[in-house]
């Protein structure tokens, strides 16, 4: 008897192990045990609730803490109104400019071969790696009263720092890569043969761009615009340095939120903040909608960041 057990023990152990692993896997070889899966899901849900959903809920809760009337009154306040207008204006200038720039850069990088190409790609990513505060400071040093070009500009009656142009410039700088990055990978992937066909069929360069290139990248372009817009409206650091925080004149929504909060005007601060949060939610919804369209058209593997 003892002999038998000794003889069979290794095999028994093995068969037990096989049974365990079978009962777990059933479907895929990568399948985890239900317990581990449950723990992982719970951890990520708790994390999400704590760090994302709760703060978002607090924004809206605080905004409406003194009732809907107080909320509306806070938004109707002239300074808040002007902050909203300025934010929309800055986005309305910065986003289209970056669309044009992004298209041009992506076109150049994806469709042509030239020596400094990889350098240009690195340069486009620069705003992602530079702290926004530093970006703002660069503009102050360039265009400020003691800056490199400041005195000359002042002499010609041009105000950039502590004025709207500075805010627009800083915003363009930080939102620079969004459109270009979305397009470069996709355009490189698509190559140039469709454009070449269009040209060989007699289409002009412009017709080729509008009828072939643009339709092929439209969802990626929209996606890039969306991200660019969200950042343009939400940017704080760079804008804060160049704006000068002049109430009713150079305060964007994020800056207005900070000022109101520092003045213990909690309801008004959160009211303005709720608008920004709303923008984030709309962006998120539109993004997931676009991702669906993306997959229909072509691969969605071009997500950059």
């Amino acid at each position: 008897m003892t002999e038998t057990i000794a003889q069979w023990a290794p095999e028994t152990a093995e068969s037990v192990w096989t049974r365990i692993s079978r009962s777990r896997g059933r479907g895929a070889a990568t399948g985890e045990s239900p317990l581990l899966a449950g723990v992982l899901i719970a951890v990520s849900l708790i994390f999400l609730a704590l760090f994302l959903i709760l703060p978002l809920a607090v924004v809206f809760y605080e905004a409406f803490a003194k009732g809907a009337l107080a909320y509306l009154a806070a938004l109707a306040e002239p300074d808040a109104q002007s902050a909203i207008r300025l934010t929309l204006l800055v986005a309305a200038i910065a986003v289209p400019l970056n669309v044009v720039f992004g298209l041009a850069a992506a076109w150049a990088i994806a469709k042509f071969r030239f020596p400094a190409k990889s350098f240009l790609i690195t340069l486009i990513d620069l705003p992602f790696s530079v702290s926004p505060v530093v970006a703002g400071l660069i503009y102050v040093l360039l265009f400020g009263a003691q800056g490199l070009l400041g005195p000359w500009l002042k002499a010609h009656g041009l105000e950039i720092i502590f004025a709207v142009p500075g805010i627009v410039l800083a915003t363009i700088f930080v939102t620079f890569p969004f459109v270009a990055r979305e397009l470069i990978a996709l355009m490189e992937d698509q190559g140039t043969s469709e454009e070449e066909v269009a040209l060989s069929l007699g289409a002009s360069g412009l017709a080729t761009f509008f009828r072939v290139t643009l339709p092929n990248v439209k969802w990626a372009l929209l996606y890039g615009v969306l991200l660019c817009n969200a950042r343009a409206m939400g940017e704080f650091g760079a804008v804060s340095v160049v704006s000068g925080h002049i109430r009713g004149l150079t305060n964007t929504m994020p800056l207005q939120v900070e000022i109101l909060y520092n003045e213990y005007n909690i309801t008004a601060a959160f009211a303005v903040a709720s608008l920004l949060a709303l923008l984030a939610l709309v962006t998120l919804a539109a993004k997931s909608l676009l991702e669906g369209r993306f997959k229909d058209g072509h691969s969605a593997k071009t997500r950059g960041h």
């Binding site: 043969s193 070449e196 066909v197 269009a198 060989s200 069929l201 289409a203 002009s204 009828r211 058209g297």
Partner: protein, 354 residues
């Protein structure tokens, strides 16, 4: 419309030592179907793109008929260009793809809508895709996409048709069908056509004439029979059809392997050693060989209706694959007498000598 390229030279952008094209002159007669055949990197696609005006040569000219098209843009050249990957417009339907070339014309040149539609349907019929005009390119098979690409190129009534590896991305069966179909279509429409391929069967079967390219130069232009039966250079002999090379010597117009004279005609004139190219059916075995040359059978395998034997020819001439009769009872290791029926001899460092 006749196509003529004169002394086309093109270098890589990086300026590497070897040019992509090195003085290529080619003439494609009106209504002719010519294949540009060569291994990858031989410059065949670049030549086609230069004819189309998608790329420009460093020197040399391109003529369409008597007209010098060298400085003309791709739009002005009015060529039908078909890409290997089809390059259909993904966002347009099949019908819209075909109509594209007519649709983008300036107002004064654009045919009326009804006329565009009529031509689109006519072309769909020609490429045997009637009823599919509402489909998207993504819903078509590879062969169907290729035919749409061809119909789209034909819609603008091109002066010449240029096809880049037209069947390269298709599987073997579809490729054979499309080949026969393209031959028929060419007979129907009579377009001057040049196509690029690396598939010699495709080139020999389809083309009126074949230009074999290697290293940016044309090695030989000729009819498929010419190319196959009378290869002008060692490269062409090695590239077209199955061929093996044996070390041999040329002396006084006669070809020798290790002192045994082969009953093959060789050009008199220069003497020296070189390579004798033979195809599998150029060597007979098992017969009483006049020159007493014997080879050892190294391996045997079945290949379709015939049997292939790999034999080692003595005097370190090399190994060749030959067609062996299925009737003969051969075994590896056996020595058999061999006789050369045909062969082309090239002296080392020289092109045709036999």
């Amino acid at each position: 419309m006749q196509i003529r390229t004169v002394d086309i030279t093109k270098n890589f952008v990086g300026g590497s030592a070897r040019p992509v094209l090195d003085g290529v002159s080619l003439e494609v007669g009106s209504g002719e179907l010519v294949a540009l055949l060569g291994p990858s990197g031989s410059g065949k696609t670049t030549l086609l793109r230069i004819i189309a005006g998608l790329e420009f040569p460093d020197s040399g000219s391109v003529y369409f008929g008597d007209e010098d098209a060298s400085q003309k843009s791709v739009q002005e050249r009015r060529v039908g260009f078909v890409f290997q990957n089809y390059a259909l417009f993904k966002n347009l339907t099949v019908g819209e793809n075909i109509a594209f070339g007519l649709d983008v014309r300036g107002r004064e040149l654009r045919p009326p809508k009804a006329e565009i539609r009529r031509r689109t349907l006519e072309l769909l019929d020609l490429v045997q895709l009637s009823g599919l005009e509402k489909r998207r390119p993504g819903q078509l098979s590879g062969g169907q996409r290729q035919r749409v690409a061809l119909a789209r190129a034909l819609a603008v009534e091109p002066r010449v048709l240029l096809l880049d590896e037209p069947f390269g991305a298709l599987d073997a069966k579809v490729r054979r069908d499309l080949r026969a179909w393209l031959r028929e279509l060419h007979q129907q429409t009579g377009h001057t056509t040049t196509f690029v391929t690396h598939d010699q069967d495709e080139a020999l079967e389809l083309a009126d004439r074949v230009a074999v390219l290697n290293g940016g130069r044309i090695e030989q232009i000729g009819s498929p029979d010419d190319i196959y039966d009378h290869p002008a250079t060692p490269f062409v002999h090695g590239f077209i059809g199955e061929a093996s090379a044996l070390r041999a010597d040329l002396r006084g117009g006669r070809i020798f392997i290790g002192g045994h004279e082969l009953a093959l005609p060789g050009k008199s004139g220069r003497n020296g050693s070189g390579r004798l190219f033979v195809r599998p059916h150029d060597i007979a075995i098992g017969e009483a060989a006049a020159n007493g040359l014997e080879a050892e059978i190294v391996a045997l395998r079945r290949s379709g209706a015939t049997r292939r034997a790999e034999i080692a020819v003595p005097f370190e001439a090399g190994r060749v694959e030959i067609d062996a009769p299925t009737s003969a009872n051969l075994r590896p290791g056996e020595k058999v007498p061999i006789r050369f029926l045909r062969g082309t001899f090239f002296l080392d460092g020289e092109s045709a000598a036999a």
